[in-house]
Structures are given as structure tokens and as C-alpha cells.
């Protein structure tokens, strides 16, 4: 899941990027509003993490601009100000959730997962299709109820395909969603991940649509 982090504090930004990376998020990190605008124009993000910061950094106007453009991306705001008025201002400006600094990293991860789930219209943190279930919270996949060990990237590829079951995703689309800027992507990386997934689960789960990409067909059980 690709996340845009807007955080002007270098040390904290670095920590959040590492922490979210550990939880399988692909994090693009920018330090000001201009960079954020550029990033938002260039990519499609599943989530936004926005530090409202202290006087001088106007995160709220960025948020309002986002909503004025009818961009529905879920936004979680980080704030040092915990007064009710500040939180209300953030939520009213279009944020979906907030965390007050200092926060617990695992809570940030969980809240982002919840936001992503709600953003995609899911009720529970489990994706089901045929014999396979994907558990976002524990980041595990099961085949016929038995856990299947997957690497972090394999899990992300599987989750993206499952989430879009019945739709074809191009290699570029998948890459865009699971890799952040500056991450080394081998030209055949997605093919390798898909190959491993077919081997660990079952080959018919992921179909190749030649010239277009991959798809998990909808299966009813």
C-alpha cells in the first residue's frame, strides 16, 4: 500500500518511514506542501499521513486543497496540539483520523490499515477469494485455513490483486502501489513475486492476461 507522508521534521519523518516500511507500507516522504502537491499529481496514494506541525507549516490548507479537488484519499493527521478545537479543525478540514504526538507506532500502523480498509469499502480486515484469505492486520495469507509463509513483497502483491479481484492490474500499477520512490525495482520483480505466489498457493489463483497484466478471478465458494 503506497502512503504519502508529509512531515517537516527530519528525524520524525525518518522514523515514521522506517516504521511504516516495517509494516509493509511503501512510503513516499515529503517535507513541505509544494513537494506534497507534486507527489499527489504524480501518483495515486492509498493513504496520506499529514503532520499539521506548528505555526508556519499550514497543513490544514493543504488538506482543504486536497478535498476541494474532490480527492477522496483517506488522510490521517499527526498533531502536537491536542486541544479539542485543534482536532476538530483538522477533522473538519477533511481529515479522516488523527493521532497526537507522541504516538505509538503500532497504533499508527493499525489506524492506517483501518483507514485503507474503510477507503476500499471493506468491513473486516480479511479479503476472501476462493480458497485463499488475506489478513491485513496480521499480514498473513491462508490457503484452506492453513497459513502460508510469504515475503513482505509477495504479501503486498497478493493483497493488491485480491483487493481488486475480478479486475486486471498492470505490472506498472502493481509496482506503483507497492514500491516507494527510490526503491530498487528489478524489471521482472513483479513476475518473480507472482511466480512465487502461484507456487506457494495454487497456480490458477493468479491469471496472466497477456499484454495487459495479472488478475485474480472472482471465485464464489
Amino acid at each position: 500500500m503506497r502512503v504519502l507522508l508529509i512531515e517537516d521534521d527530519r528525524l520524525l519523518g525518518d522514523g515514521i518511514r522506517s516504521g511504516l516500511g516495517q509494516a509493509g507500507f511503501a512510503v513516499d516522504w515529503v517535507v513541505d506542501g509544494d513537494e506534497a502537491d507534486a507527489a499527489l499529481r504524480g501518483h495515486c496514494y492509498a493513504l496520506l499521513v499529514l503532520d499539521l506541525g506548528l505555526p508556519g507549516v499550514d497543513g490544514l490548507s493543504l488538506l482543504r486543497g486536497l478535498r476541494a479537488r474532490r480527492d477522496p484519499t483517506p488522510v490521517l493527521i499527526l498533531t502536537a496540539r491536542d486541544a479539542v478545537a485543534d482536532r476538530v479543525a483538522g477533522l473538519d478540514a477533511g481529515a479522516d483520523d488523527y493521532l497526537v504526538k507522541p504516538f505509538d507506532l503500532t497504533e499508527l500502523q493499525a489506524r492506517l490499515r483501518a483507514l485503507a480498509r474503510r477507503g476500499s469499502g471493506m468491513v473486516e480486515p480479511v479479503l476472501r477469494n476462493g480458497r485463499v484469505t488475506v489478513h491485513s492486520d496480521s499480514r498473513t495469507a491462508r490457503l484452506d485455513g492453513q497459513p502460508v509463509p510469504l515475503s513482505a513483497r509477495e504479501f503486498e502483491v497478493l493483497r493488491e490483486l485480491m483487493q481488486n479481484a475480478g479486475r486486471v492490474l498492470s505490472k506498472a500499477q502493481i509496482e506503483d502501489r507497492i514500491y516507494a520512490w527510490g526503491e530498487e525495482v528489478e524489471s521482472n520483480a513483479i513476475e518473480v513475486h507472482v511466480h512465487h505466489l502461484r507456487r506457494k498457493l495454487y497456480p490458477e489463483l493468479i491469471r496472466t492476461v497477456r499484454g495487459l497484466g495479472y488478475m485474480v478471478p472472482r471465485e464464489d465458494r
Binding site: D9, L11, G19, A80, V100
Partner: protein
């Protein structure tokens, strides 16, 4: 001034009443003495005439009863035509006969004596005591009412003072029943004119306390919020370290934890300096002498390693051996903040110059060739917690405001300008001449 208002009023009013009354009594006494003298003198003359008439008729003087006079007995002596003493009443003063009025002392008593000129000579005398007693009793009658008047006056004053102080008591009660958070002004319209200065002064004080509290509250809130970001960074990196799949990532995260800790420490230190600079009360003047050149050498030496690490050419451009009045510790903090800022915000390869010059007073200058600060932001960078955006530095936002505050405490003026080289920032602190 202390003591009871009531006591003071009683002393002043009671005292003046007493003095006025005593003066009246004294003058009445003097007046009465004069009148009594005149009356009794004429009485003496009449008595003498009567006795003379009796003596001329040859009636035995001894047989005549001693004539009573108002206020006491009259003593007398009678002589015959040849000057021989015919008769003297027992207490009559002796000595030679007098003619006309005379005051005579005889055997320790004063007498008023009147003698006739023509023979047979008659002399009548009356004791002074009698006259004094008469006048005294007149005056003492005047003094009696004082015994009642003084206690009555005290009572009236007590009541009047209570009545007069009622508005003050009401204010006292209002203030007493307040909780410390209630610093609303007192109602100044319902009090008498005399108490209005007090109410106004109290209200002014309340206003100042409100401002002070508000400043403190805002500062504490800002400080707490400022600390949250480094704390969040520390917590995040610590959790990253705990969840790290390999040692290299864990070590990297732990280094970040340390960086966050030193940042929070620095922020706390800066806050403590500010707290010490802002006692919220009166400010004591410094009386120490600080050798500015010595302080500059110390701080530049101390910051040398940081400058080298960041690739900054830090040096002293000009150093007059000047002294200023002040606190050596605070002057060092001022210098350290200015030099630290210059090093931090100047890109590697830059240059930072420190100058101490004797001008009208003493001028301290720290100049860099970094990006400088836009003129419209120069006022704001002196505000607490203000940071220039995009500087990429993790400052506390307090360095310059602390420096400005220390300068202010020393009667010095801190100003920001373009560096002489045309780019970069120059911070100038002008100390007053000593």
C-alpha cells in the same frame, strides 16, 4: 503607617476636642478671676468704708462682728487718729498699713489688702485662696462635661469609622471569597470616591496578573508541544529498532533515538535558560564585568569542532579587548547561540566571522555567508519557537529569542541585517558604553 484607623481618628478628634475644651476652661478661668477680682475689690472698699464709719462713731470696733464677705471672711485692722492699732481681727496679716490696694504675702499666704488714706485708718484683707477657689470652681464646672463627652465621642467615631469603612470591608470580602483563578476586575462604580484609587490599583494589578498568567500558560503549552515532536521521533525510532529484522536497521534506529534524545535535551536546556531569564518579577541589574574578547575566544574554541565537522570556516575577524557589564554565564549563552545558529544554517564550505569592536559602546557581530533571513521574517525569527521553513535544521526555535532576551537584560540591542559580503546574515549586539 500602621495602627488602627479608629485609634488614630479617636486620638486626633478626641485630642482636639480636649484641647479646645481645656483652652475654653482656661480662658473662662482667667476671665472669671478678673470679674471676681473686680467684684471683691469693690466689696473690700465698701467694707472698709463701713468699718471706718463705725470707728469714727466711736463704737468699739471689737464689738463689731467681723463682716462676712462673699466667698470668705474678711480680716481687718483699725487704727485710731494717732495711728495706734485699735483692733485687729485674729487672722489679719500684720506689717505696715497700706494705702489703697496691695497684694501682700503674710505667713505664707497671699492677701488682697485695701487700706483707707484718711484717719481713722482701716485696712481690710481677703485671702487670695478665696478668689482662686471661686474662679476654679467656675472653670471646673466647665470641665465636667468632658468626662462624658470623650467616651461619647469615642463611641460616635467607632460607629462612623465602621460606617465609613463599609465599602472597604465589602471589597475585602469580595477579594477574600475569590478563588485564585478569578481575576475579574472589581466593581469600581459602587465604591465611594475615596476608595476608588484602591479599587483601580487592585484592578490594574489583577490585569497584570492575568497577562502574566496568560503568557506563562501559552509558553508552557508551546514548550510542551515543542517537546512532543522529538519525543514522537524517539518513540517511533525505538519501536522501529525493536521490530527491526536485522541488526543494521536496529542500530540505525537506535542512533536516531540518541539524536532525538539530544535534541529534546537541548530543547529542555534552552527552556530552562528562558525560564531563568524570565523570573516574572523585577529584574536585578548586573554588576559583574565581562571581558567580551575572552568570552568570544572561549566560545569560538568550544564551537570549533562542530564547525570543522560541518565544514564551516569559523574564525575571529577582529577582537578589541572590550569589557561589558553583565553576567558572564549569560553572555556565553548569548555567544554560543549566535555562533551555533550561524554554523547550523550555513551550508558546508561557508564562513562564520565573529567580531568585537569598540564603537560608541561595544559591538559584537556574528556574520555568516549562508542563505540569510528574508527581511520580512527578521522580526519573527526572534519569536519563541519560530523556525524558518525549509531550513532543514532541527533547531529548537529558541536560540535567537534567547539571545535577544539576554541582550535585552544587558541593556544591549540585538539586530539582524545582511552580512557585509552581500549575502548571509549578520547578527549585531550593541552593548551600552560603560
Amino acid at each position: 503607617m500602621s495602627g488602627s484607623l479608629r485609634g488614630r481618628l479617636l486620638a486626633v478628634l478626641g485630642g482636639s476636642v480636649l484641647i479646645a475644651w481645656l483652652a475654653t476652661a482656661f480662658f473662662t478661668y482667667v476671665d472669671a478671676r478678673r470679674e471676681i477680682d473686680a467684684m471683691l475689690d469693690s466689696h473690700l472698699v465698701q467694707t472698709a468704708a463701713l468699718l471706718q464709719a463705725l470707728a469714727t462713731e466711736g463704737a468699739p470696733a471689737a464689738a463689731a462682728p467681723p463682716p462676712a464677705a462673699a466667698g470668705g471672711a474678711i480680716a481687718y485692722r483699725i487704727w485710731d487718729g494717732e495711728g495706734a492699732l485699735l483692733f485687729a481681727s485674729p487672722e489679719a496679716p500684720g506689717g505696715g498699713a497700706v494705702a489703697g490696694f496691695a497684694d501682700v504675702a503674710w505667713e505664707g499666704r497671699g492677701w488682697r489688702v485695701y487700706g483707707t488714706d484718711a484717719p481713722p485708718r482701716v485696712e481690710v484683707a481677703q485671702s487670695h485662696d478665696v478668689r482662686r477657689q471661686l474662679a476654679g470652681s467656675v472653670a471646673s464646672h466647665l470641665l465636667h462635661p468632658l468626662a462624658f463627652a470623650i467616651p461619647l465621642l469615642a463611641l460616635v467615631i467607632w460607629g462612623a469609622v465602621n460606617w465609613g469603612l463599609r465599602p472597604l470591608t465589602a471589597i475585602a470580602r469580595q477579594v477574600q471569597h475569590r478563588n485564585p483563578a478569578n481575576l475579574e476586575p472589581l466593581d469600581g462604580d459602587s465604591v465611594p470616591r475615596e476608595t476608588q484609587p484602591l479599587v483601580k490599583a487592585l484592578n490594574r494589578l489583577f490585569g497584570q496578573v492575568v497577562d502574566l498568567l496568560e503568557r506563562e500558560r501559552r509558553f508552557t503549552a508551546d514548550a510542551a508541544h515543542e517537546l512532543r515532536t522529538p519525543l514522537a521521533a524517539i518513540a517511533t525510532h525505538a519501536q522501529v529498532a525493536l521490530a527491526a529484522p536485522d541488526d543494521a536497521e536496529a542500530r540505525r534506529a537506535m542512533h536516531s533515538v540518541l539524536r532525538g534524545t539530544s535534541r529534546a535535551t537541548r530543547l529542555v536546556e534552552q527552556l530552562l535558560v528562558l525560564a531563568r531569564l524570565d523570573p516574572g518579577g523585577e529584574e536585578t541589574a548586573f554588576d559583574g564585568r565581562v571581558c567580551l574578547a575572552e568570552a568570544v575566544r572561549g566560545v569560538v574554541g568550544e564551537m570549533g569542532p562542530l564547525a570543522v565537522e560541518r565544514g564551516i570556516d569559523l574564525g575571529i575577524a577582529e577582537l578589541d579587548e572590550a569589557q561589558v557589564t553583565g553576567d558572564p554565564g549569560l553572555v556565553a549563552v548569548l555567544l554560543r547561540n549566535l555562533v551555533d545558529n550561524a554554523i547550523r544554517y550555513t551550508p558546508p564550505g561557508g564562513r562564520v566571522d565573529v567580531t568585537v569592536r569598540r564603537a560608541a559602546g561595544v559591538e559584537l557581530r556574528v556574520e555568516d555567508d549562508g542563505p540569510g533571513i528574508a527581511p520580512n521574517l527578521r522580526r519573527r525569527v526572534l519569536d519563541r519557537f519560530f523556525r524558518v521553513l525549509g531550513s532543514g535544521q532541527e533547531g529548537s526555535g529558541l536560540g535567537l529569542s534567547i539571545a535577544a532576551r539576554i541582550a535585552e537584560r544587558h541593556g544591549a540591542v540585538l539586530s539582524l541585517s545582511d552580512a557585509a559580503a552581500g549575502r548571509g546574515l549578520a547578527v549585531t549586539v550593541r552593548f551600552p558604553a560603560t
